[in-house]
Structure formats: C-alpha cells, structure tokens
C-alpha cells in the first residue's frame, strides 16, 4: 500500500532546480526517513509532499488522490506536517497550542466539540505533556517544546504525519525520546510517518524505509540494512565510512573515517584493519 506518491515531480527554488522528475512511493503504515547531505532537497521534497510548496511540474498523490486538486482542509484531515523549528506566539500555553491541531475539523458552524476535546487530551497523553498543559510553550525546554508541537500534529488526527528534522537542536536523550514517541504511534496506531533526519544511526534504527537523495533524485531506497552501505554513504555524503551492526539493535551503524585523531599528540591511529580498508577504498576510488 502506498501512502504518498510523486509522479514526475520537479521542484525549483527560484531558478535553481532542486528535484528533477522524481517518481517516489512512500509505503503506508511505515516509518520512512529521508536522508541526504545538506541542501540536497530533502526538506524541500517533504514540504512539497505537504503542499507547502507548489511543484514546478508533476503530481503528488495522497492515497491515490492528487493533492493539487483536493481542498486544503480535506488534506489537513489526512496529512499533518510539522515544519522545521516552529515557534509559538509568546505566552501561548501547551493546551492552546495542541487545540490548534483541531483547526481543520472546525468551521463557522461547528465549533469546539467533545471529540475535539478527546483528541486533544489523547495527544497530550501520548506525548507525556498532560502535566505541562498549562505551561507557556516558550517557557519549556527544547525537548518538551518539540513534544508539544508533535502533540499538536497528533491532535489533527491524520493517518499520515510528516516531520521536518524533528530532532534538530535536541540533545541525545531528547532525540531518542521524540523518536520513541513517533515509533510508538506508528506501532500502536499504524500511522504513516515520514521524516527528515540528520543522524544516520537513529534513522537506521527507527526507519522501515530509507530514501537517500542525491543529485536531485533518489539514489537508493529500501530497508536500512539493504540501503545503508559504505557505497551509499560514499555516494550520498561523499565520505568513507564503515557500516557495522548496531550493538543493541543490529541495525546498520555508520562509523565515518576522518582525520580527527591522526597526527594529533597522544591520539591513536585507526586500527590497522581499517587503515587497510580505507587504503583499498582510496585505490578503487
């Protein structure tokens, strides 16, 4: 089953071409993570799938229906987007923020209902924000703030949730905490989650499906164990790396080569075996 699909999608920013003639299918009920180097267009692609950006050419289908011709409020009932580093108005409480998630379900006649109330409470509960619901969003820590925003997108009650770098500016603990919440939602409620992440190791741990972007199109996609290989990392990030199994979960883990320790006083040389590999790689390259 396909949740989102792009057909010959071409995206531009001003004059420059960002995504060229892309055909991509995002599986339903799975966690999909978009990866790629800075400026490769992964955020742009995500934004266009959430209709925040008009494609230059091509179509985007949500459950087989073109989003360009669907009323925006109808889309908002099926697809939620959390943009990168959103900011709440000063003094807005967590509860007021989360209530905004019900916007697409309301109109002039149908104001606040018990269902709206229930959805808001559920969203607060599943992100662990119930205790903090009367606090001002701008008084919270980075991790709490991000959970509040995720609660808002949950209150929207959509099957598909898009998140643009939801872990940026968070420390390791809070990165894992946010991703655990999203994983839980995917497991228990079968929601489709599509996000942009920078941390390759966390991406591999949480993703069912990885989409690696390079040169305005998809370089590789599929399950992390098939997709994240030294070749992919070299092609997508222009970097040599070792891929080893994550000691806890067995998912691919990427250890980059660098010059960090070489030649530094008291520093250690890379393990002889690795040096051999990197030399070999250098010869093939």
């Amino acid at each position: 089953m396909v949740a989102l699909e792009t057909q010959n999608l071409t995206l531009t920013y001003g004059e420059s071409l960002i995504i060229d003639q892309l055909n991509l299918q995002i599986p339903k009920g799975k966690i999909t993570v978009l990866i790629g180097s800075n400026g490769c267009g992964k955020s742009t692609l995500l934004r266009s799938m959430a209709r925040l950006l008009k494609p230059k050419e091509g179509n985007i289908l949500l459950d087989g229906q073109a989003i360009a011709t669907t009323p925006t409020k109808e889309i908002a009932k099926r697809l939620a987007i959390l943009p990168q580093s959103p900011t709440a108005p000063e003094g807005l409480t967590v509860q007021q923020l989360v209530k905004q998630g019900r916007y697409p379900h309301q109109n002039w006649l149908k104001q606040w209902t018990t269902e709206d109330e229930a959805m808001v409470n559920e969203a607060l509960e599943s992100t662990g924000m119930t205790e903090l619901k009367d606090r001002a969003v701008d008084s919270l820590s980075g991790g709490q703030r991000q959970r509040a925003w995720i609660a808002m997108t949950l209150a929207q009650g959509t099957e598909t949730i898009l998140l643009d770098e939801p872990t940026t500016y968070l420390d390791m603990t809070h990165q894992v905490e946010v991703l655990d919440i999203l994983f839980e939602l995917n497991q228990t409620q079968k929601r489709t989650i599509i996000m942009v992440l920078h941390d390759l190791n966390l991406a591999c741990r949480y993703a069912d499906h990885i989409v690696a972007l390079k040169d305005k199109t998809v370089y590789a996609q599929g399950h992390p164990t098939e997709t994240i290989t030294p070749d992919t990392v070299r092609a997508v990030f222009s970097m040599d790396a070792e891929i080893i199994p994550d000691p806890i979960y067995g998912t691919p883990m990427c250890i980059p080569y660098s010059r960090g320790r070489i030649g530094r006083k008291g520093g250690t040389q890379p393990h002889a075996h690795h040096v051999a590999i990197s030399t070999a790689v250098g010869q093939f390259a």
Binding site: T72, K73, L82, P83, P86, A88, P89, G91, Q100, P104
Partner: protein, 337 residues
Amino acid sequence: MIKNLLGSTPLKLGGLFVCLVLLLAGLIGSVIFGVVDTSWHVAIDAYTQFDGSNEHIVIREVRVPRALIAGAVGASLAIAGALLQAMTRNPLADVGIFGINAGASFAIVFGAAVFAMNSLGEFTTLSFIGAALSGVLVYFLGALGREGITPLKLTLAGAAVTAMFSSFTHAILVTNEQALNDVLFWLAGSVAGRKLEMLTGVFPYMLLAWIVAFLMARPINTFMMGEDVAKGLGQRTVLVKALAGLLIVLLSACSVAVSGPIGFIGLVTPHLARYLIGSDTRWVLVYSGFLGAILLLFADILGRFIAMPGEVPIGVMTALMGAPFFIYVVRKGLVRA
C-alpha cells in the same frame, strides 16, 4: 512564564465590565470637562430641552462629537494595531509602517496646495483617499516576489512609501506657505473641532471592520503559529493575509481621515491588552478596542488641562505617553528576533 492578570474567563468578562465603566466615564468626562466645565445635567438638557444657549450649542456641536470621535478613532487604531502585530508577529509594529499616515498627509497637503482645499470636510475625503492608496501600495509592494507577503518586505515597503510621501509633502510645504498654514493643525492630529458628520461618514466602515476583525480572530490565532503550520492545518493563508491587510488599511484610513495622524495608540494598546489577558486574539481584539477608546479619551481630556487655557493636541499627548512605553518595551526585551 508570563502570568496574565486576567487568566480565567469570568475574570476577563469582569475586566470587560470595568472597561465599559471606564469608557462611559471617559465619554462623560470628555463632554463635561474643558475650558468651561459643565455638568452632567446640562449635557442631558442639551439634548432633551435644547434652549439654543451657548452652553448647549457647545455640548452638541463641539463636546459630544469630540468625545465620540476620540472613542471611535481610539478603538479603530488599537484594533488595527492589534491585527498588525498579530499578523506580522512583530510587537513593535504600528499602523505607521503601512505608510498610511504619510499617504494621508501628502494627499491633504497636495489638495491644499494644488486645489486650494481648506475645509475639514475636504480634508477627510482627501486623507481617506491618500491613506487607502498608500496602504494598497505598501501592500502590493510587500506582496511582490516569491514568498508573497512577509513581515520584512511589508516593513521595508512601508518605510520606502513613508519616505517617499514625506519628502513629497515637505517639498510642497517649503514652496507653499499658505498650504502650510492650512494643514499644520491637521498634521498634528486632533479630535477637536471636528463635526459629527465627519465621523458618521466613516463610522459604518469602522463598525464593519471591527466586526469582521472579531470574526477573523480564530483564523488569526492559527496564522500566528507560523505560516507553514497554518497552511499545514488547512488554512488558506493568502486569504487571511489579504483580509487582515484590508481591515488594517480600512481602520487606519478611516481614523486618519477624521482625526489626522495619531501615533502610539496602535502600538501601545495591544501590549496592554496582551499583558492583561494573554495571547488569544479574540480577547486581544476586544480589549484593544475598549482600551484604545479609553486611552484616547483620557489623553484628550488630559490635554485640555496641561496647558490651560490652551490645549495640547492629542497627537502630542499620545506621543508623550507612548514614547516612554516604547522604550520600556524595547528595554524589557519583549521583542523577539
């Protein structure tokens, strides 16, 4: 965390009642205090048992129009300011950034110099046209380019249009002394010496804008979460921006047409409102309306006493009150990057 004075709904409603009392006190005070103090009974008599006396004529022709104009203009400027600060998410935004006052001033100076217009009635029409034109011009310039309207482009366009109209205005004034004499009192901003007809000419538009602004409060709350978030929630943000912009232009054009440019009310009042009741746009708009009317009425009454028997123009009064507040806001760091 910012703690608001009036947190719960009953408190907010109670506060509204206090506002209503203050508003009535301001209106009554504006009618009975002045160079010649009169009384509350005489004011009623002027309408129920009009005897053609000087006192009655002053009340009906001078004091009552003045009180009503101060109230209506104060409310309109404050609501326009609240809308503007909400839409641009800029706490220092005032209706001045739309270049509206500059446009109105230019239209009046132009009319006085070129067509020898000098009555207040003509000035009202001229300033409305000038205000509306400059508002639309700024809006159009601010909407050019890829992302549509952004606060930054709007501010830049406003500054450019203000600079342009101001220099035109000064060019005319330095070459035409007669025009200078005719328009100087208008340029200072005042609610005195206006006829009630000037207000009734624009009041239907003001009232309409107040109502539409209140109806738009909920979409504006959503818009304030950031444009991408609002779009993601299914809002047609282009529509919200266009309508809010129209309301701001309409309210400030109506105000400047009646009273000339009056600064600071649109800047200060929304801050007071948010300080009292928080960030919910519905309440901010209602409180801004009341507080703006109250502030302008009291500023006007105060201006009659400071330089007795002369009067301090209300535009100067609001600047006297508003400038220290402006500095306070900046220093307190309420401004977000």
